[in-house]
Symmetry: C2
Subunit: 345 residues, 2 copies
């Protein structure tokens, strides 16, 4: 089969790789019908996150079960399934607690020895625990919305929960990438009254407004802090969703939180803890909570809303490519010509 | 009157100062009967926290109302009252939300222009909002226990709440000062099943056990992390109470938290955010929550338990001094000859 492979910074290739097969009785093989490129893939593309040359890449996919191992009980060939961005056994203490990302038998698509999501097929370990079966009759447009539950929409939801978004809350979202925009959707879904998007790209700001943002702030750093405080009577917001991962974004997020409020952080941290102003957190009782989102826990919660059309994150996809065009998709996202590239097969 | 004054590092004096008087109609003047020295006072004593020469000091006191301003409605001369370690108006949004430490009209005893708690009397701003009236017939031993609600017991309770201690939880407490020990009490009161005290001073470890600790770890740093993980099946604890404030303590606290758990931090941060391992927090979904404790909000919750004898933090006082001996009390605490000095008048 063919799959996306990363050889180094700016070096994404489509190559022939071995067809996945059932290796363990708990495996399934899934033929991928929809995948996408994540903002976090760009850290590898840019050489910030190290990858072994020839490592597979991609961690968001949706497809059809092709084969199952002898111990897979809940899935059959032909089933339409969605994969969260990590696999997990579904039975350990952490999976039972809803923190599938800490499953000791879990792993991340594309890590050495595993398939990546940006390929024609994927061997799925612990298929019963990992995959979520979808109805068979979902229309194409809805499948694109469902694909976002694999990562970006679940991650935006995690940020909103971690930040403690509640009905009536005032919220700010730092970052206007796909996760930040999904954070806007998540905040609205949880009943936020006011949602301030920190967004400086006009096209993304437009998506933020369409997702439920009530205000936008174009500034960055201290100017952004001043702007958000101006908009909130000097107090800041109850809940901040941090969806960037840089020191500056963290510093801004903590500074715009209201005393007693919380920052839900889901941007993969790049740059250490210097942006975590512990003195300010202490003096104002600002909490910091979040991390890698247990998408597998959230998919069952969010799925009905997507199927019913009440939740539609699909506008985050503003570019559709075939597998051969995936390298061009990375380049488009890296150069901010595209927000998020959908890959169809 | 006489009061404790700080002139510089290691320079605590008892001096004659002006008698407090009602300056605003919302003031009260309280004649102090019990006060104490806080571990956080030692930061000033050691010169780590800057103070103006001649500034007053002490923020924990209990006494009898001597006079009230014209607008004070809930208190009368002769009332026995307890003061939390910050004053607050009791009416603003933050006070209404239970975060009295963020009251815009609030302040900290001993800050320039205000009286400190380690003196014969104190002018109390916003007396109706700040002071908690106590029953008139409380016996002496109980008053010592009540005095801890002014800061250390309320702060230990804040750490436990911030760390999310719940019935059945496994808890670790970093720091065996008075706050850490009160954190042990708070965790037990909230139903923790197992409480691991990180304590290396035998006399304090003994208090920790008497307060409900089930285990003690003498090691520090990476050895302490290994010990706690060994004791918890490799997983770490649900809730960590950080009651020191150094980088090393924060690093240890985050490292011994179970995935999905939380660190409740109440140690005044000294040393920046380098101990906040944001990568570990992200990957394992460890939350960091806490700060300056809204003691005024907690006193009404904790008071009945102290009055009924169900909660007795008074063993944290292992030295009793008169006002003239307060400098010696600081020295004893600084040299770890005493855990916490009670001042009687």
């Amino acid at each position: 089969m063919r799959a996306t492979v990363i050889h180094g910074p700016n070096d994404i290739r489509i190559e022939h790789v071995p067809d996945p097969v059932i290796e363990r009785p708990t495996d399934a093989v899934v033929r991928v019908t929809h995948a996408c490129v994540c903002g976090s893939d760009l850290w590898a593309y840019r050489g910030v996150a190290a990858r072994q040359p020839g490592q597979r890449i991609g961690h968001e996919f949706l497809g059809v079960v092709d084969a199952v191992g002898a111990e897979v009980g809940g899935l059959r060939p032909g089933d339409r399934v969605l994969a969260p961005f990590v696999w997990s056994d579904g039975t350990c203490d952490f999976c039972s607690e809803g923190l599938h990302t800490s499953c000791p038998r879990g792993g991340f698509w594309g890590e050495p020895g595993s398939d990546g999501g940006q390929g024609e097929a994927v061997r799925v370990p612990h298929a019963d625990g990992t995959l979520v079966r979808l109805p068979g009759d979902v229309e194409e447009a809805r499948l694109r919305a469902l694909l976002t539950l694999s990562d970006v929409m679940s991650t935006g939801h995690h940020a909103a929960l971690a930040a403690g978004v509640r009905p009536g809350a005032t919220v700010a979202v730092v970052g206007d990438g796909a996760v930040g925009l999904c954070g806007v959707l998540a905040a609205r879904r949880l009943g936020a009254e006011r949602i301030i998007a920190l967004s400086r790209h006009a096209d993304r700001t437009a998506v933020a407004y369409s997702f439920g943002a009530t205000d936008a702030v174009r500034q960055r750093g201290e100017e952004a802090v001043a702007a958000v405080r101006d908009m909130t009577g000097g107090h800041g917001v109850h809940a901040v969703l941090e969806a960037v991962g840089t020191e500056e974004a963290m510093r801004t997020a903590i500074s715009i939180a209201r005393d007693g409020g919380a920052v839900g952080f889901v941007g993969v941290p790049h740059g250490g803890s210097a942006g975590v102003d512990i003195g300010q957190m202490f003096g104002r009782n600002v909490a910091l909570r979040g991390g890698v989102a247990p998408a597998r826990a959230y998919i069952p919660d969010l799925l009905p809303d997507v199927l019913a059309g009440r939740l539609d994150p699909s506008p985050v996809f503003d570019l559709t490519v075939g597998l051969d065009e995936v390298p061009a998709g990375y380049a488009a996202m890296d150069e901010r010509r595209a927000l998020k590239a959908l890959i169809t097969f």
